[in-house]
């Protein structure tokens, strides 16, 4: 805590500019500033280019998802999670499904777990592509962004092949997937593993050893592991400080314990380390996907959901022709199935950190209370205190490297 000066006037949204002697200027960074990449505001007090203090204002796209979720059946909450971190919505979807499965005690077949791993790692790559590409754009180098953006487009094509949607994917159902991956999807995933590493190498060639880029990012917004932990940071930005905390390894879910992958950590916790950690994580994700593909080969084909008729909607043709399926369909849709009266917490490693779902069930069809632990929201809390004393340019690339996604920030 000692590295940052405390905010001068905490919780005061507008600074009083009535002292003519202090020569400070109040600057609104956001909500429509191009660098915020979303709607959230920072009211900064600047002395020339240097930020004296700042206050973050959030809530511009607050949609009350936690409250809405209390009135929706479990399977209808998935689309809400899409809109948290919309750069990697499959991770959110999977995290939510796993939370409900934990609540209901559903055992998921291995093949489905591996499929989920593939989807989540693809989403992680897409998320990191955005973050590192935007970091390049914010430092002024535009081309690298478009090199990797083309590959994100390819990931979206894979999503399209799997579920039909691209951005707000709504992939999967409670108990598995709505349908099996088709052959084209598998082919495209295999192609992606082959074609992405050279593009990533090209992207890194542009930045990693670029003198200007290093000077802009190295040593900027350096955070010690203690401070990061005290602010409950997680994800790549925590690992950049040197803490090897990764939910995939510390609390494995979806069979992550069977995979062989490294957790890259940084040293200084600065913008450059965060950038490097994200790049390396993309490589590790590719490794995981390759292993998952191998493992899927060994599993029996055609299994794409658990055998839980009480929670997994039967196919439509069965609903029309089969008595049992009709009953289950009716019960699921009408919310007639009891759930355990308990509370669960499930966390997945999202693109920005630990994405947690804290779910309290009173036995009904919808949660009694649901809380999303949104990494962007928690990571962003340090932004204003750590900005004080920084130059405006540094504060902006610091914001890009925190990868604050407005949807996840506000929920």
């Amino acid at each position: 805590m000692s590295e940052f000066k405390p905010v001068v006037k905490p919780n005061h949204p507008i600074f009083e500019d009535n002292d003519p002697q202090d020569e400070l200027v109040t600057l609104n960074l956001g909500p429509t500033h191009p660098a915020t990449h979303g709607v959230f505001q920072n009211v900064l007090q600047v002395d020339g280019e240097r930020i004296v203090s700042g206050v973050s204002t959030i809530g511009y796209i607050h949609r009350a998802f936690e409250k809405i979720a209390e009135h929706r059946p479990y399977y209808q909450i998935t689309p809400l999670t899409d809109r948290l971190n919309y750069c990697s919505s499959p991770i959110n979807n999977m995290g939510w499904h796993m939370t409900v499965e934990k609540l209901l005690g559903i055992e998921i077949p291995k093949r489905v777990q591996y499929m989920r791993v593939i989807i989540m790692e693809l989403a992680r790559i897409a998320d990191h592509i955005i973050c590192n590409g935007i970091l390049g754009v914010d430092t002024g180098a535009f081309s690298g962004f478009l090199y990797v953006m083309q590959e994100r487009e390819f990931i979206y094509e894979i999503f399209e092949e799997i579920c039909g949607a691209r951005l707000t994917t709504n992939i999967g159902r409670i108990g598995g997937f709505e349908r099996d991956f088709n052959e084209v999807a598998f082919q495209k995933i295999k192609e992606f593993i082959k074609r992405y590493p050279p593009v990533l190498a090209e992207f890194e060639d542009l930045f990693n050893r670029n003198r200007i880029f290093i000077e802009r990012t190295a040593g900027v917004a350096s955070v010690s592991p203690e401070t990061a932990l005290s602010y409950s940071w997680s994800g790549p930005i925590l690992r950049a400080t040197g803490v090897d905390y990764d939910v995939r390894a510390n609390e494995p879910y979806s069979s992550y314990e069977e995979f062989d992958f490294d957790i890259p950590v940084g040293e200084n916790g600065d913008v450059y380390d965060r950038y490097m950690v994200r790049n390396e994580e993309m490589r590790q994700s590719l490794r995981i996907i390759a292993q998952a593909l191998e493992k899927i080969e060994k599993e029996p084909k055609g299994i794409f959901h658990a055998d839980v008729p009480a929670f997994y909607l039967p196919p439509k043709e069965q609903v029309y022709n089969n008595m049992e399926a009709l009953i289950y369909h009716f019960k699921i849709v009408m919310g007639e199935i009891d759930t355990p009266k308990t509370e669960v917490y499930h966390a997945v490693e999202g693109g920005n950190g630990e994405l947690g779902f804290y779910l309290i069930s009173d036995g009904g069809r919808s949660p009694y209370r649901l809380h999303f632990r949104r990494p962007s929201f928690i990571n962003y809390q340090m932004y204003a205190p750590m900005s004080s004393g920084m130059l405006l340019s540094d504060a902006i690339i610091n914001m890009s490297s925190l990868n604050v996604i407005a949807g996840e920030l506000d929920a």
Partner: protein
């Protein structure tokens, strides 16, 4: 002063003026095409074949856009900003020799608008005035981001003008003249180009030229990710167009000045060995000059789409702590070498 002379100069001025504007217009297209080439995409290709009508479409759009002057803006200075920017950009090309003499009948026509004996100083003076356009526009906008952009522009161009001027002093020690026409005339052929004599001076000069033109990696006055639009945040319609335009004209003129001072201007290799008539040499020389200019413009764009930009303090450090000492060292070095050469050769 005879009438024919006035007509001749008037025609030349018109040609240079139109050419400057056309090149500036097409630089915008070239920039987007180069960006497209570097980023694996096509660039604009809808307006006309290969998008060659794109600049016209853009210009037309600029004229038909609503013109907004913010309520708190200083109205006259707000209008003066882009005006100064475009005027200074346009008149800075007056002293550039585009070629040697053309002989038509018994008239010998100089392909230079004005051969003033302090040509380089004129270019510097006019370019230095150009920053007033940015400063006034940014200040008059009554916007904090514009003001910051204007302050950045002012401090940046003042810092880099010093280094630029010092790098030119070393060149002048070699050429012994301030007239750009004479400097170019000294560099006939290929081995006499000043780049071979002043490589360090050229590197300093080209760096400063990037800063003077507000191009990446020195585009801090308008860096869109930090200052929204920088000094032209509040500008719309053709006033914005004029700022953009003046940036491209500055780029063109800087390229012309660099080619003239360091790369022999209209001189091209083996120009005197081919046995061509004077008129042909002049015409090929003009083409060679424009080839060099376009190469420089491409270089500007190449850098723009490759490098990140500096931070404000790094920019100042580079200017004051690296470029100016280097330029002074270059002067001393040039002086010592000239002395040795004059004494012992």
């Amino acid at each position: 002063m005879e009438t024919a002379f006035i007509i001749e100069k008037f025609v030349l001025i018109t040609i240079v003026f139109v050419l400057t504007l056309v090149i500036a217009m097409y630089s915008t297209l070239a920039e987007r095409k180069v960006a497209g080439f570097m980023q694996d995409r096509n660039g604009p290709d809808r307006a006309g074949p290969f998008g060659i009508l794109q600049p016209l479409a853009d210009g037309g759009k600029f004229f038909f856009k609503e013109e907004i002057i913010p309520a708190g803006a200083h109205k006259s200075l707000f209008i003066a900003g882009p005006t100064i920017a475009i005027i200074t950009a346009c008149i800075s090309s007056a002293v550039i020799p585009w070629g040697q003499q053309l002989t038509i009948g018994d008239r010998v026509i100089d392909l230079q608008v004005a051969d003033i004996n302090v040509g380089i100083l004129y270019v510097f003076g006019v370019i230095a005035l150009g920053v007033y356009g940015i400063m006034l526009g940014g200040w008059a906008s009554n916007n904090k981001f514009s003001l910051m952009g204007a302050i950045r522009a002012a401090s940046q161009s003042i810092s880099y003008e010093i280094a630029m001027g010092l790098s030119i002093i070393a060149l002048l020690m070699v050429t012994q003249t301030l007239s750009i026409k004479d400097i170019v005339a000294q560099q006939s052929g290929f081995v006499n180009w000043n780049i071979w004599v002043q490589p360090l001076g050229f590197i300093i000069f080209v760096t400063c030229a990037f800063a003077e033109c507000n191009r990446v990696p020195f585009d801090l006055p308008e860096c869109e990710t930090e200052l929204v639009g920088g000094y032209h945040t509040e500008y719309s319609s053709m006033k914005l167009g004029l700022y953009m335009f003046s940036e491209y004209i500055n780029m063109f003129v800087s390229s012309a000045v660099m080619s003239a001072l360091y790369f022999g201007g209209y001189n091209f290799p083996f120009m005197n060995d081919l046995g061509l008539s004077q008129n042909w040499i002049t015409i090929i020389g003009v083409l060679a000059f424009f080839l060099k200019i376009f190469a420089f413009i491409f270089f500007f764009m190449w850098i723009r789409w490759t490098l990140p930009r500096f931070r404000y303090d790094q920019l100042m450090n580079l200017g004051w702590k690296i470029l100016i000492p280097l330029a002074i060292a270059n002067i001393v070095l040039t002086g010592i070498i000239t002395l040795i050469k004059d004494t012992y050769w």
